[in-house]
Symmetry: C2
Subunit: 135 residues, 2 copies
DNA sequence: ATTTAATTCGTAATCATTATTATTTACAAA
DNA sequence: TTTGTAAATAATAATGATTACGAATTAAAT
């Protein structure tokens, strides 16, 4: 997903195009890593010294809601990355050093049995380790 | 795992048997639910009004380290349950209402391909939803 | 009973996240 | 272009989970 596509999608829903929002998106479009909220803040502060956590979280959640970003919890902190919406539901290997990810096309839910009577809402499958560059 | 087995295992490693530690273990032995740290605190306070968070977390982490408990993150909070060490590596369905779990014997790592050159350290597979009683 | 290291208590600090209120801004319509 | 208005932001403050720390207590080995 590129910057303009994302901003257009927001516009359709009636959300405004702000410099901060644009800048947040730019950061994600540039790399397919999971990034912690506080690291986003740091990067944005280079352009907007006064930007507040409120702005960061509000936008990260909005973008996740709109399925432009994907969220996960790593080490007790929420992390975000640009969604990989194009190639359907999948999972990730996540490098614990640099945060870079690799898509895993296989979804274990296809193979799970024995949950008759259970109301399944969600699932999480992630693999952690070092990518070839970091290991 | 029962109380005495767990306490014996700690003793072997040189850890002392304290009332607080015993009480924490009792709680976990009684039920196979994931419990939040703060809920453990509440329960312990019934017997030891002055117990501190320090004691709770120190023990929960110790017990997890010693593989007596298992930990996971639910809704931004660390939750703990008695380990299911006896029947080998497996995963869980976790009820988002009551915390009760159901074991999933299938492990997706057996089926994953395409990670040559990646150093795999860990993985997480959990299914969330409502158990038959809560749905 | 004495000793000693482990453990706990009581409290404060930290860190991520959420909430609040006043101000500013995007943008559509006049 | 100006104006009206809802959306968005800034600048805190508040919350809630977790971690840290010094002093006091305790388990258990000798």
């Amino acid at each position: 997903m590129n910057l303009e596509t994302a901003l257009d999608r927001l516009k359709e829903k009636g959300y405004k195009r702000t410099k901060q929002r644009e800048r947040i998106l730019e950061i994600f479009v540039k790399q397919d890593h999971y990034i912690a909220a506080k690291d986003i803040l740091k990067k944005i502060q280079q352009d907007f010294p006064g930007v507040s956590y409120d702005t960061i979280y509000r936008n990260l959640y909005l973008l996740t809601e709109e399925e432009i970003l994907e969220a996960t919890e790593l080490g007790g902190e929420k992390h975000f990355r640009l969604g990989c919406g194009t190639h359907g539901h999948h999972h990730h290997f996540i490098c614990t050093t640099c945060g870079k990810t690799k898509s895993i096309e296989f979804c274990p839910m296809d193979k799970v049995q024995g949950l008759n009577g259970y109301d399944i809402e969600n699932h999480k499958f992630e693999i952690y380790g070092k990518c070839p560059q970091c290991s």
